[in-house]
Subunit: 422 residues, 2 copies
């Protein structure tokens, strides 16, 4: 071990995207290794709007592994963190930083301790797959710090052991988590189907929906589903394999109608098996249902899908519009049906890529109030009422790229001298 003895700190910062499944992962065949009962496919979201940034650091002066999430220290004792740390340390290589005069031999990594700070640029509790981005970023940043030789696909198999869907955050674009066959999980990993440039017309709008009920964690939820649902095995064995093939084709061919149909039906079927669980699990609420009805009505009126929707283990809607034009029309419809509460300003109600708002011709709250019912709503006195506050805010984004190392040291979350959060 070189450098100024006991004083040096080696540090690296990386950023990893979140992802949303368009063919859903629900149900494990191995709880510890996190091996799924079916393949899944996701789209990576632009890290400019939704991502985790993680700084990892190592120093002989650190006396135990520590981690801070959004500035608050959290325990690393959980089995899933421990699995990831163990797997990464086992693959660590020699590291040399000539500029700083630091040399670390691969066997040293077993004794050295880590400080890790992680930050989500979106609310952790909003149900936006923060654990996926977080675990992926932990694994990715540590692999770079420790100079691992593994490629992102091999790293995904480590991230998978931290949080199943994290494995899909190791790539940009469209990603497939291959369920694999091996008992040890070595072939259960993510591969990139296409990168984010392949289908760059797509625009994604997320509705962060207010939840009145506490939600079932996805870990216990999917365990209950596998144990009690009479439909989940049929879904995993008969339905999903066909859909995965069709979805890969739809993505390769940029076939939006097929993509939308598969995305929507697979989201609905995931929520169906949740409902078929005993006791039943409800992730979608009345607001989620109204968003679906709004999109379905519009798609039907247009005679072909304009927008796909998908919901994870919570009430938030992720809507994928075929292009910027439909995204602007979608945003008009969403703001018409789900206006903000009177004390909310537009700037905090629609966040992310604000240019969609501009395309929709909406500059301020007066423009929102002036929105007229879309043509597909024939009966404006319908039972479906507008109610303010059902949606907390909207995020406009797009498919995005995979993990990157941030070379700009000012973006580090840890102090380079103390190794503690800035």
């Amino acid at each position: 071990m070189g450098g100024e003895p006991e004083k040096w700190i080696l540090m690296l910062t990386a950023r990893t995207p979140t992802n949303i499944a368009v063919i859903k992962y629900w149900g494990k065949r191995d709880e510890t290794l996190i091996l799924p009962i079916n393949d899944s496919i996701s789209v990576t979201l632009d890290p400019g709007h939704l991502c985790t940034t993680t700084t990892v650091s190592v120093s002989p002066s650190f006396d135990h592994d520590r981690m801070w999430l959004n500035g608050k220290e959290i325990s690393l004792q959980g089995g899933r963190f421990q699995s990831c740390l163990r797997e990464i340390r086992a693959r660590a290589q020699d590291v040399e930083d000539k500029k700083k005069g630091i040399q670390i031999k691969k066997e040293d990594w077993q004794k050295l301790h880590l400080h890790i700070a992680s930050y989500n640029n979106f609310p952790t509790a909003a149900g936006l797959a923060s654990s996926a981005a977080g675990l992926a970023c932990l694994v990715f940043s540590l692999s770079k710090l420790m100079n691992l030789k593994e490629d992102n696909s091999q790293l995904s198999a480590i991230a998978r052991q931290g949080s199943g869907s994290a494995c899909r955050s190791l790539y940009g674009g469209f990603v497939k988590w291959v369920m694999g066959k091996e008992d040890n999980g070595s072939d259960s990993l993510a591969i990139q189907l296409v990168d984010e440039k392949h289908w760059d017309e797509l625009v994604i709008i997320i509705a962060v929906v207010s939840a009145r009920q506490k939600e079932t964690s996805s870990t216990s939820g999917m365990r209950d589903t596998v144990e009690t649902s009479g439909l989940i095995q049929h879904r995993a064995k008969e339905v999903v394999p066909k859909r995965v093939v069709q979805m890969e084709d739809a993505i390769q061919n940029r076939d939006f109608p097929s993509f939308a149909r598969l995305t929507c039906t697979d989201s609905n079927q995931f929520h169906a098996v949740c409902l078929d669980t005993y006791p039943p699990i409800f992730y979608m609420n009345d607001t989620s249902h109204r968003i679906i009805n709004c999109v379905e009505k519009w798609n039907r009126a247009e005679g072909m899908p304009q927008v796909a929707y998908t919901f994870d283990a919570g009430p938030n809607a992720v809507m994928i519009a075929r292009n910027r034009k439909t995204a602007a029309l979608l945003l008009q419809r969403l703001l018409y049906n789900f206006p903000p509460q009177s004390d909310t300003d537009l700037d905090s109600y629609v966040i992310g890529d604000k240019s969609i708002l501009k395309d929709a011709g909406i500059k301020d709250m007066k423009d929102v109030e002036a929105l007229t019912p879309p043509p597909e709503v024939k009966d404006s006195t319908s039972l479906t009422q507008k109610s303010k506050g059902d949606v907390n805010y909207f995020i406009c984004t797009r498919p995005g790229g995979g993990p990157v190392v941030l070379s700009d040291e000012t973006q580090a979350l840890l102090d380079p001298l103390t190794g503690l959060p800035k």
Copy 2:
């Protein structure tokens, strides 16, 4: 044709119960004959609280078939009404009323016209299977007027062609609709499993839930499910047949835990296949979900089911309590979680068998306001808020008997001299 020519009116009034499925019917294999893709099992509800009363009359002075529902004339031209009328007329027999001096030969029924008046003692629009009771009552009352030799099971196969679930309203107690195998539907009919005295401890509480959304009709809903769901065939072929056997056992043995488990899981699975339909169908809303969570939490706390719940094609909850004592405890919980709006009086908020309210120790609105959280609710500051007005009213009832002819002529809905609604 005898009697005073062209002047006489022969009239008969009958009352038929409604029913709620505990193993659900969803999906037809023949749309015209209304043949289902699986067996179903229902409990008949006490006609004292929920029933249809129908008066049927025949007279040579009537020049066409006419029908009034809840006082308003409706068309009989629909294929389903026509199927029932055709099937019944084809089986009509000679009728003689010596007192009135009326004689009708069976061949006369093809030429004679009918006046029919029907009345539900509960709101038609409340989603409480009014069409089941209505069609059953139409078929039952006409069969008596026309002196049919068919038993109730054979009549059920006629009622089935009017409204599938109507066939189960031909008997009291617990009833099975056998799906049958014949293409002509002759063996798709209802049989009584046990009468209403077999398991007379059960108490039923119905929550009539406010709906914000217009609902999908069950006819088009189940057609869409059969055409688009990837799970419905697995349910019909693999899951339901086993549950039907288990449910018959549970009913025979008055095994409440098994009965409750089967009832709840089958209701949930029915709603799961609705969600797996494209576009998805949502019958339950947030209030329905909260009712389920309330019941599930209590059942779990007691270590064994106290209450079963089931939902048809709408948000209303039908809860079946194992006995009067649990029903009173259930009503306390329901009134605690779903209090009436301040301008509602208790007498119109809890209707039907008011003795359950008395057992619950609730005499007036002050007693409702004084209700404390049940012991299973540990965190009274939980996210689940009480909100007034989510439930329109509760109906307390019990399993009940089958169709009966009402001999009291004052209960007739048609004027005996004019044949028009009173």
